[in-house]
Subunit: 248 residues, 2 copies
Amino acid sequence: MERINKNSFTPPFYQLATILENKILSGQLKAGESLASENELSREYELSRTTVRKCLSLLAERGLISTHQGKGTFVSRPSLDRAEFLMEEFHTHLTNMGKEPGYRLVHVQFLKELPEFAVRLGMKANQGILYYCRLLMADNEPIAVEHKYMQYIKGRPILENEFQYKAFSEVIMIHTDILPVRSQAILTAEIAGEFDAKLLNAAQGAPVLKLQQALYAGDNKPIGVGIFYYRGDRYSLVSDIHPLRGER
Amino acid sequence: MERINKNSFTPPFYQLATILENKILSGQLKAGESLASENELSREYELSRTTVRKCLSLLAERGLISTHQGKGTFVSRPSLDRAEFLMEEFHTHLTNMGKEPGYRLVHVQFLKELPEFAVRLGMKANQGILYYCRLLMADNEPIAVEHKYMQYIKGRPILENEFQYKAFSEVIMIHTDILPVRSQAILTAEIAGEFDAKLLNAAQGAPVLKLQQALYAGDNKPIGVGIFYYRGDRYSLVSDIHPLRGER
DNA sequence: AAGTGGTCTAGACCACGAC
DNA sequence: TCGTGGTCTAGACCACTTT
């Protein structure tokens, strides 16, 4: 049995995690089987139970095991047929990729009515709706168009500068003093409409990733909704599921 | 100052997390500001430092704070302009949604050459390539088509049944005895090709979510690649980012 | 009653950053 | 040097499941 090296720079909980992960990935521990109990592992590897638990919680986070109070800890399917996509805010995403984000405010308008999809999400027009449309660019190439609809508060100034550069949840907070606390988003594939295709400098019928987003206040009422259309040929999401590194 | 109720069924670390989360969401703690140190929090709320740390790690996981050794703990942007999408394996996804998954094996074939995108991913043909194509359905409606390319091992039987029902990583392991340990996937929007559109029972030019997946062995060599095309109008990904519940 | 995971405590030592 | 977060220990009590 492999042992824990207490002089290594890699902490014991991490060493144990890689040991157990290897047993799972190599098939020594098969899906559905139960692991040794926390107390047993603690004895076997001469670690405190706290340390064993920290290791197990790491493996659980990664989907390799699942724990059940009173029953034990079990190996999960080594499910690689699975993907996790993180869609960052546009500015963050581009700077991470080493590109220059650009913004163009295309349209700002006051509306009395909400578009149909916003009504379906349970949003109300109240005092009116502030609509704006923005073009997102990377190194001056258009990547996405976004359409935003938010509650309008009478008497509040409409600051176009803010629309151009700030994230939607900030714009909402500045205009309404309400900080959104919940966000729901739906991602699908669609064909770009004529208006959006033209802005994106894409051909008629070009495929886009459509992201529909709703922001909710603390009372769970939607206070802003938005739609993004990302050019399919210039924007993609990446998922990488890999084993723990031996060292870190 | 709010205090921890030690008689509540909600554990202290969770109570503290909601207290701190509320301070962040309400704006009492602004982005970039530093939190009280772990020792201070420990004194203030009369909890052990271990418990305080468990609470902080929960908030860090949720992106509300970030910790920096030697410097302190800082409030992050309340970034709601962000989305996390989890794409489960098809069978799991459908049963979660209460639908009946269905599979139809469309094609199985031995190839001598790999398609161009697989070569670009660094895959080699070696003894040959096993290709198959499968139609994925929900309640008998076509949802997605997948094309898989994997290493062929001479002399090994080709079991069509397995292709129809098993996950790709299992099929690979059964045929090659190699268990993939790493998966990389790229998601974009595209227009369905003629062949795929027909299988999906969709119109010419219909938009699809394209998922390109590569599975790697322990030596980081690709041993199988696949492409999924999901009908844009029947498949979508959902993200929900919300505050901690008061009770649990 | 015995065994399992879930939570908590009080104290220790270390690595890192700022002074 | 001091304060910060990162890790570890040994022991305790609880809730849940099985016997």
